[in-house]
């Protein structure tokens, strides 16, 4: 089989999938810059928005793959974690802008500039961008914290408890956020309100609006590639193999000395982090976030991507995220029938390839890309 990344031979002692070298980071930066400075001006605003949605969906699908695909648990809470991350980040940038700059318009550099960035006389980064990055990380961390609280009790048990609990969690998040207080917009009032109090003013049922614009192709693709790097290391390191062993056989994994509860919770927390980051990115692109739109339907969209790509296949999730983002647009000419066709395509898919496009493998491990299997006469070889 093909191994693209070097094997990590670390023991299980600690978090070891921190990038060994900076190559993946370089690749992420390169692609992000390319998307921002070359693709965006060349492809126009519609294709650019599509590319942005694809990247966000890649983050979401890959983050869900970490739980549903790697450890074989079933989470239905993606939208809930997006909401948590999105609101948390939005609160930081919106109220932070008032606090730091006295206005709802923080200074942004060229990397966060809307439209054709090449013609704008802007510096690369300004302090507002750093606040935005910090807000995204904060959103991710808050979502990860929520993931820990949700995951710890429900992942101690084997079975479908996680699905039920995460479904409930999504609804609780939605209701809580929709009953939050109205967004404050008076600079003096904001300056006079302490942070903990500000975090209760999240816009209520109207949603959190007037969020500053930051999310460009640069930031989403940077985040998407970094998500991929983390997912790949989770799958292809000896430390990360423990996640897969739980999916394969939980009893045997325990017999190997894998503390299954710990690993399930870890995968879930990491996954929640990235879902939170995705929520934060969306919030700063649409410039508003509404918990009402982040119901379980949104979670199911992501689940469909993961199932279609193949539970456990990172490249499958990426491909499915791309296809399922573009497909509804391609079918737009069918007007009202397009969702019917979309649904039919999925049903056919489930009949023809129930394990998803790639099963648990990666694109380069199947079909013509694959080296001839090591033991071609394998299964029939020995008596059973």
């Amino acid at each position: 089989m093909t191994r693209v990344a070097p094997q990590l031979d670390d023991g299980p002692a600690a978090w070891r999938f921190v990038p060994r070298n900076l190559a993946p980071l370089g690749a992420a930066l390169g692609l992000a810059l390319l998307m921002h400075f070359v693709f965006q001006p060349a492809a126009g605003s519609f294709a650019s928005k599509l590319a942005l949605d694809i990247a966000v969906n890649i983050i979401l699908a890959v983050s869900l793959t970490m739980v549903n695909g790697f450890t074989g648990q079933f989470s239905m809470g993606t939208a809930g974690f997006m909401a948590v991350g999105g609101y948390a980040a939005a609160a930081v940038t919106y109220y932070g802008s008032f606090r730091l700059y006295g206005s709802p318009n923080p200074p942004a550099g060229i990397l966060s500039a809307f439209g054709d960035p090449t013609g704008l006389p802007l510096p690369w980064l300004q302090s507002g961008d750093l606040m935005f990055v910090a807000a995204c990380l904060f959103g991710g961390l808050v979502a990860a914290g929520a993931g820990y609280i949700v995951g710890l009790p429900s992942l101690r048990l084997r079975g479908d408890y996680l699905a039920i609990v995460t479904l409930g969690f999504g609804e609780i998040v939605r209701v809580v956020l929709q009953t939050s207080e109205r967004r404050l917009s008076n600079a003096e009032q904001i300056a006079g309100t302490p942070w903990p109090k500000l975090l209760t003013h999240l816009g209520g049922s109207l949603g959190f609006t007037s969020i500053p614009y930051f999310t460009t192709l640069f930031w989403v693709w940077l985040a998407a590639v970094l998500t991929l790097v983390v997912a790949y290391r989770m799958k292809r390191s000896s430390y990360g193999r423990a996640f897969l062993s739980i999916r394969e056989d939980e009893v045997a994994a325990e017999a190997m000395g894998v503390c299954t509860t710990k690993f399930k919770v870890r995968a879930f927390v990491i996954s929640s982090f990235f879902a939170g980051v995705a929520g934060a990115l969306i919030a700063h692109q649409v410039q508003s976030i509404n918990a009402g739109e982040l119901g379980f339907q949104r979670s199911f969209d992501v689940i469909i991507m993961v199932v279609l790509g193949g539970m456990g296949s990172i490249s499958g999730a990426v491909l499915a995220a791309g296809v399922l983002t573009v497909l509804p647009e391609l079918l737009r000419f069918m007007a009202d029938y397009r969702m019917v066709v979309y649904a039919l395509a999925l049903i056919v898919m489930m009949i023809v390839r129930p394990q998803g496009l790639f099963g648990v493998r990666e694109v380069w491990e199947v079909g013509p890309f694959r080296r001839r299997a090591a033991g071609s006469g394998a299964p029939g070889g020995g008596a059973t």
Binding site: L244, E248, A255, C259
Partner: protein, 237 residues
Amino acid sequence: MTMLLLEDLNVHYGAIHALRGVSVSVEQGRVVTLIGANGAGKSTILRAVSGMIRPSGGRIMFEGKSLSGQPPHQILRLGLAHVPEGRGIFANLTVDENLELGAYQRSDPEGVRRDREKVYELFPRVKERLKQAAGTLSGGEQQMLAIGRALLARPRLLLLDEPSLGLAPQLVQTIFRIIREINAQGTTILLVEQNANMALAVAHHAYVLEVGAIRMHGPAADLAKSDEVRKAYLGHG
């Protein structure tokens, strides 16, 4: 020296009293087997020892230390590996990755490499199939992989649950030959088997279980000759 000692072990599955005061002792360097009919509680004993289920009463001592309340990964660290019933191989991972997970808790790559060579010697078939998904192996190969994988944890006591289950007679012979070999290399073995004939042939000491309690025990050779055992478990009228 007594390596593993179970005293008055009780296990409940809900309302079902699966083990009723079982006492077993395993001497170092021996092969000890638990035989008995389906549902007698053989596998339950192994699961209790490796920490997968929590006994409701009694003591489990391994090399003088109590195992009670310890999670499976701690127990493995003490030198006690469990090959669960049904092999429990990771079907979608390669044979190589399966073996790597066997050495999951070890941090001495050099030692792991040496132990791998030993496993390859015991199971040449496993070495031939390293890059193959483990699920594509035959039943016998999967069993070999499961045992080889457990050996990579470098256990001093190996718990084997029904290693001959579902295997062709010829492969059963092979597996038992290998069990003997592993024991000869210094690993103590606690073996659960339905194939009482083979188990008694390979073991030094045997326990006969009936509905959650020890019916009798003694040197395996003696039990193999006992009328009662022959009638009930060995198929001799």
